[in-house]
Amino acid sequence: MLSARVRVALQVLPLALVLLVFFVVPIGFVVAVSFFHYDDFGIVPAFSPENYAAVLSEHLTLDLYLSTLRFAALVWFFTLIIGFWVAYFLVFHVRNQLVAIGLFLVCTVPFWTSNIIRMISWLPLLGKEGLINRGLIGLGVIHRPLEFLLFSDFSVVVSYVHLFTIFMIVPLFNSMSRIDRSLFEAASDAGTSRLQTVLFVVVPLVKSGIVLGSIFVITLVMGDFYVVRVMSGGSRASVVSAMFDDISVLLFPHAAANAVFLIIIVVLMVGLILRAVDVRRELVDQR
């Protein structure tokens, strides 16, 4: 019979191997290639900081990061507001638990379908000839089609919120489900208003859900390259879409240096968020 330690080691070995071979080592290759030298003739293994110097000295880099961070902040704000109230409604207002689970599934089902399809499904709605413009003209609210609806920052944010709100709803739903209902009675006995109960009872108790959801949404927006491209009609770029342009013309070292830079920034952001709440303790130990 196997000892307990050997058994645990065997159980986690496949996961550890996959993460090592397809996550840690590839990131190592990205870091290595970021120091390679490239010119018109090809890519030469080297140890040169020139790609970092190039990335850091380009005016474009700062613009890309500012634009991506602005999208991340906007999308985080909207997904947090929507996700919080949707989860709140499902957990505390729907009395029948089966109905609540059913409605929760209604929210999660689109997550299992193609992101690209869901993104392009906004085209017939937001376009110049789209349903919203026709509807508003038909109602006489506007006389000329609204141009800002499609291929703009607006449509980019709408698509992000459409795609990523589920990543806020699930952790919040999970945290809220674990709140002891008698706290509400205690709060109302103590004379708190509804809003105060939400602010001072619910929000502190779902902090870990907010943190997890925020990490998902922010990293998803930071890593996106296709929504920003298609939904802005090519007028906006993100950090990763610039990388995508680099590798399509085989500028791997430049893209790699950019990628290392992005990874450092994302890790710093996530680290800062995690300093606030120990998510692992919430997930694994507190049962």
């Binding site: 996959v18 993460l19 505390f92 379908t113 193609s114 000839e129 990388m243």
Partner: protein, 281 residues
């Protein structure tokens, strides 16, 4: 707030309306392209409907200019099944290990979370570079499987955390006391109890692989998977054939989701049916 009896507070109606608006926001656009994909030959990308029929579905599968849709499906399906099987096996095994603290458990957990939140394209570039520099050719059944596992495994692991969080270890101890071997404990006690969770992991593994785009883009080798085919269509195809492809893939995803959720519901019902106290001797 839930008063167990009496009238619902006004906030219920306000939030119910908010929720309904969210669901409309979620499904409305998708419904639009489903409807628009059933146009006739003169169909366009926007309303109103121009004719009605299956013209664009036929166009999708017969026209060469819309790309190799059938070939892409023939690759994406086995890919999704491979990723699903690996995700289930690896997530269940590591989920069982994570029930106790072990040396390196923290690093492994944060490694899985990092792999989940890492920018997909960057990971794809890394895997592509690794295969290129090692001189190994990329294929959907090698590099793309690995790339997709870095996305599906963390989800599987998180689900297993939730599943084992509600798992009563007394069942295992009881089985051991009755003389079951460790293998028997897993096969006859643990697996049947966590079966709904396993189906959920399989559902995640399959659909997340079938629709995966960012990580697969640089790792699928010379041939396209279905999401890559859709991606190239978004830039090349300006006919409702694009919507028809969206309708077909979404309908297939819904079928898989329906089967999985149905299976979970059947198992749960059977279980609760059995757990009810016997009325007659």
């Amino acid at each position: 707030m839930t008063n167990s009896s009496g009238n619902r507070p006004w906030t219920f109606y306000a939030l119910a309306a908010f929720f309904a608006a969210y669901v409309l926001f979620l499904y409305g656009p998708m419904l639009c392209i489903f409807i628009l994909s059933f146009q006739g030959q003169g169909g366009a990308l926007v309303f109103p409907m121009r004719g009605f029929g299956l013209y664009w579905f036929i166009d999708l599968f017969t026209q060469v200019r819309t790309g190799d849709v059938i070939g892409a499906i023939e690759r994406s399906l086995p890919l999704a099944f491979i990723v699903m099987a690996l995700t289930v096996a690896i997530s269940v095994a590591s989920g069982m290990a994570f029930r106790q603290r072990f040396r390196g458990s923290g690093i492994l957990f944060y490694g899985a979370v990092a792999s989940l939140v890492a920018p997909g394209l960057v990971l794809g570039i890394g895997i592509g570079l690794m295969f290129q520099l090692l001189g190994v050719p990329e294929h959907w059944w090698s590099s793309a499987v690995g790339a997709q596992l870095t996305w599906t495994l963390p989800f599987g692991l998180l689900i297993m955390f939730a599943v084992f969080g509600r798992f009563n270890r007394a069942y295992e101890e009881a089985a051991r006391d009755l003389g079951a071997s460790p293998a028997q404990v897993v096969r006859l006690v643990v697996i049947p109890i966590i079966l709904p969770g396993i189906i959920a992991v399989a559902l995640f593994g399959f659909t997340l692989s079938y629709d995966e785009f960012a990580r697969t883009l640089q790792t699928s080798g010379p041939t396209n998977t279905l999401p890559l085919e859709i991606w190239s269509m978004t830039t090349n195809v300006t006919s409702p054939a694009l919507y028809a492809l969206g309708t077909v893939t979404t309908a297939f995803s819904f079928l898989v989701i329906g089967i999985s959720l149905g299976a979970i519901a059947v198992i749960q019902r059977r279980r609760f049916g059995r757990a009810l106290p016997a009325k007659r001797p």
